[in-house]
């Protein structure tokens, strides 16, 4: 009886779906191409494609998920730039006009070669201990008290760098507590209105990049900080950027208004003063279902990395979105594999490389790619560094055959290895038990799946889910055992990241053993002047760890940014420098005609 009722209910539901899909047929459908013919089109120099011509005006609504900023002062955490990033600016910015075939922006790697002058007009390193920044003339602060549009000068830069480093008037307050992101600096002085000289205590290959564009070098208004002590209160935020933050409804939304006196032209279309869009609204939405509903119903124009943690990560959601709303534009990007794990190689059973290799060989990477990711993932094993940083990346095909063998799905060979290593199947079929420490915000599906593959070879893996705050002490104090979440194939700053993962001086020691030989290679890579030599050394270290199975590789799944078709000028870019995400929105425009045609 109950079953029949249920079936009837389902039938009725299905009926509703059919009716709904009928009703919901895209209103834009047929007319759009005809109308587009008359529309003025221009060439996008970065992609070589024709797009509707830039236009001014309109409103863009985005949704941001994940950790919303707690206040508006980037001095206390770079995450704050998720709300201040279009208001305050840095000395350098990545090249928006660059040919996307040359640099795709579809990962978070920031090579210094792509950096272009921004608030600094140029820079120079006359000797290894000196960096000179020539500050751009004619840049004004927002027309907002207490700055009231006064000119941005070298003194402002000195003030901000002093605050970052705990120098000058900030000697007592001390430097920013975020040590890694803080560059070295002995003194910062303004030699004239537009020149800043930074003296380093020792030569550093990374200092210039850090001063130009780390998360803490946003230029804040000295007058505001002198008056209030900081810019934690968003009402006090004044910058030089394309937008002014005009409202921040706590826990709910941000509103940005165009800065009518912005100083910069569109890098792609010189002569077009930025920004294009009049008002930008950011909604803080933590639940994926909720922001997707907003996208489907046109309440939200933009989702994805540039505006926060609102990428689509599952192929199923992607397909469902494509089916229900084919007009939505999707942009794929790959930054790293979040389906990989680090192994504690200091304790049994994982102190034996055969056991580690067996764990890897138990997983059917290609099969998982086919079934779970529908062939969209980068399933071929990668090292610590991913394909996005091609100069530091060794493709799987070029790995030695011996190493490759350890990454091919072969459960029988894996079982043989475990037998050989002295872990025979017990009476219940189990060889040993271990724990997989999973990070809550990483996709869980692969961890669950991997556990079933390991069960196939007799390894009983229990999944322990850690949240962000619980994971840090576990990693720091090494209170975990077995396997722990880790990212592989990272498209990020290569030498720094590999050092972080491998070098003895790193605060994190995931695998539990130190290799002086690897330290020596990495030290040599940091010291050398030759970029090619550095690439060779980093690749050697990376391959060594893969050969010794310090990590378990899992497929690198694509992430998808999504936006309405009337948002123009976007090509899946992630950021224009560390945390320079929102500033991308200043370079996009709204095709108002298309939007109106589609009934919004």
């Amino acid at each position: 009886m109950r079953y029949i009722t249920l079936r009837t209910c389902l039938a009725v539901l299905c009926g509703l779906v059919l009716i709904a899909t009928g009703l919901g047929a895209s209103p834009a459908g047929e007319e759009a191409p005809a109308a587009a013919m008359e529309k003025e089109m221009v060439l996008d120099p970065a992609t070589g494609e024709m797009v509707s011509a830039p236009e001014y005006g309109g409103t863009l609504v985005y949704a941001t998920g994940g950790a919303a900023p707690a206040n508006a002062d980037t001095h206390f955490l770079h995450v704050q730039a998720m709300v201040t990033g279009a208001t305050t600016e840095k000395l350098g910015i990545m090249d928006w006009a660059i040919d996307r075939n040359e640099f795709s922006f579809r990962n978070t790697y920031i090579p210094l070669s792509v950096y272009r002058p921004h608030l600094a007009e140029s820079w120079d390193t006359p000797d290894p201990l000196t960096i000179i920044f020539n500050i751009r003339e004619g840049v004004n602060w927002h027309d907002k008290p207490p700055m009231n549009g006064r000119e941005f000068t070298a003194d402002d830069v000195v003030f901000n760098f002093h605050r970052l480093l705990g120098l000058g008037e900030f000697a007592e307050a001390g430097p920013s507590p975020f040590t890694y992101q803080r560059p070295l600096g002995e003194s910062v002085t303004a030699t004239d209105r537009y020149t800043v000289v930074v003296k380093l205590p020792e030569p550093s290959g990374v200092a210039l990049g850090q001063y130009l564009g780390i998360g803490l070098t946003y230029m804040n208004a000295p007058e505001v900080i002198r008056e209030h002590g900081d810019v934690k209160d968003w009402r006090n935020l004044v910058g030089t950027g394309p937008y002014l933050l005009t409202d921040w409804t706590d826990g709910s939304s941000f509103t940005f208004q165009k800065n009518p006196d912005y100083w910069k032209d569109d890098e792609k279309y010189p002569g077009n003063r930025l920004p294009y869009i009049d008002e930008i609204q950011g909604l803080i939405i933590l639940e994926e279902a909720t922001y997707l509903a907003g996208l489907r119903t046109g309440k939200i124009d933009f989702l994805g990395f540039p505006v926060g943690v609102s990428d689509i990560t599952s192929v199923e959601v992607l397909e469902s979105l494509q089916k229900s709303n084919p007009e939505i534009v999707l942009q794929a990007w790959w930054d790293r594999s979040e389906n990989s794990y680090a192994i504690d190689a200091s304790k049994p059973p994982f102190d034996d490389v055969r056991v580690r290799r067996a764990m890897q060989m138990a997983i059917d990477l290609e099969g998982i790619d086919r079934s779970v990711y529908k062939g969209t993932s980068a399933w071929q094993p990668q090292g610590i560094i991913g394909e996005g940083v091609s100069a530091y990346f060794t493709p799987f095909d070029e790995w030695p055959e011996e190493v490759k063998k350890g990454y091919r799905y072969d459960p029988a060979a894996a079982e043989a290895l475990l037998d050989e290593a002295g872990y025979p199947r017990g009476a219940d079929g189990t060889r040993f038990k271990t724990v997989l420490n999973h990070l809550y915000r990483f996709p869980l599906g692969f961890s669950e799946l991997a556990a079933t593959y390991w069960a196939d070879i007799g390894v009983d893996v229990e999944i322990n889910v850690l949240d962000e705050a619980g994971a840090s002490p576990a990693r720091r104090d090494r209170t975990w055992e077995g396997l722990i979440y880790h990212t592989m194939g990272n498209n990020t700053e290569p030498l720094g990241f590999v050092r972080q993962m491998v070098h003895s001086s790193s605060h994190e020691d995931l695998h539990g053993i130190r290799y002086p030989e690897l330290d020596a290679l990495l030290d040599a890579a940091a010291a050398t002047d030759s970029e090619e030599e550095r690439q060779r050394l980093v690749k050697e270290v990376d391959l060594y760890t893969m050969e010794n199975h310090w990590w378990i590789w899992g497929p690198k799944a694509g992430k998808y940014m999504s936006h309405q078709p009337w948002v123009v000028g976007f090509n899946g870019e992630t950021w224009l420098g560390f945390m320079d995400r929102l500033t991308i929105l200043a370079r996009l425009w709204i095709d108002s005609e298309l939007k109106a045609e589609m009934g919004y």
């Binding site: 009703l23 950790a67 707690a70 206040n71 706590d250 840090s472 720091r476 994190e508």
Partner: protein, 317 residues
């Protein structure tokens, strides 16, 4: 009577004290702290200066000193401290978020009563009839269906099928009263149906009990006019325990609000709490719990006292 009121008020003091220790300590036993969260946000790429931050945030002091300061701030300055993550004032933030949660709560309770009272009363009058079963079934189904499932279905399917979704951005009552009510209606319905089950059950039981009293049976048998009188009389009797029950449901309501606020994107205290818990933002978590706890105790105290006035036989034991 006076003695009873004074006694009841005095008893609140030790309870509040225990509550303050409970809310202050509990969150500190959770593994990890706000500095670990900041470390995590650096994405494994950097390191924070733990010692400097501990000094900056006052986490280097022993827990009892921290508790003493916290309690002192509350008693002397009426301040709940500052957020460790954002350095804003906890009491200001709570006051700013309170209206959303209160509106959600009040609407849910009203909707819950609108469902529970008629169903409960009618079910009792028509005990063991189809109407009784249907009414109760609907009310109990509200309890038996997980809130978040209903909420997610409302969010996902209409958007796919009809291109419709609930509002995404908070509309305050001042801006647009109708839009505001529209935004709160669906979440309140979901929470309200959840609360309705217990209230309905209470109402029904009380009604059944009252209806079995001899004098009522006699009146009942006399005809329709009497029945109206009876129902009115019975309902009056039922209302007091129902109000008590609502007081007891407040903590459940607050819990439910955590999930519902998240899905319907209502920036209330539940959502603030969840974020603060993830951030290990101790003063915020403790502050919200203290405010909730005190509010629940206060409301229950008022209910108790009103109850004692209305029904002098029942005094606090």
């Amino acid at each position: 009577m006076k003695a009873h009121v004074i006694r009841r008020l005095l008893l609140v003091i030790p309870t509040l004290f225990i509550l303050s220790i409970l809310v202050f300590l509990s969150v500190r036993f959770i593994p990890g702290d706000v500095i670990d969260v900041m470390q995590g946000r650096l994405g494994g790429m950097g390191q924070v200066d733990r010692e400097a931050l501990e000094r900056m945030l006052g986490l280097d002091q022993p827990v009892y000193v921290q508790y003493g300061r916290w309690l002192g701030d509350i008693l002397l300055h009426g301040s709940l401290g500052r957020s460790l993550m954002g350095d804003w004032s906890v009491e200001e933030k709570i006051l700013a978020r309170l209206p959303v949660t209160v509106e959600l709560g009040v609407l849910s309770i009203v909707i819950g009563l609108l469902i529970a009272l008629p169903v409960g009363i009618y079910s009792a009058i028509r005990q063991d009839t189809a109407v009784d079963y249907a009414g109760r079934s609907i009310a109990i189904l509200g309890l038996a269906t997980p809130n978040f499932w209903l909420a997610l279905m409302v969010m996902i399917y209409p958007a796919i099928w009809w291109g419709w979704s609930p509002p995404m951005r908070l509309i305050t009552f001042g801006e647009d009263p109708l839009g505001n009510l529209g935004m709160f209606l669906i979440p309140s319905l979901i929470l309200g149906t959840y609360l309705a089950a217990a209230t309905m059950r209470m109402t029904r039981t009380m009604m059944l009990e009252v209806l079995r009293q001899d004098y009522i049976r006699t009146a009942w048998s006399k005809g329709l006019k009497e029945r109206v009188v009876v129902v009115r009389h019975a309902v009056k009797n039922v209302l007091i325990p129902v109000v008590t029950l609502i007081g007891l449901q407040l903590p459940i309501l607050v819990g439910g609000a955590v999930i519902i606020e998240n899905i319907f994107n209502l920036p209330g205290l539940g959502r603030l709490m969840l974020v603060a818990l993830n951030d290990r933002d101790f003063p915020v978590v403790a502050g919200i719990n203290l405010v909730f706890g005190t509010a629940v105790m206060g409301i229950n105290l008022v209910i108790d006292l009103v109850y004692a006035v209305l029904d002098p036989r029942i005094r606090y034991q």
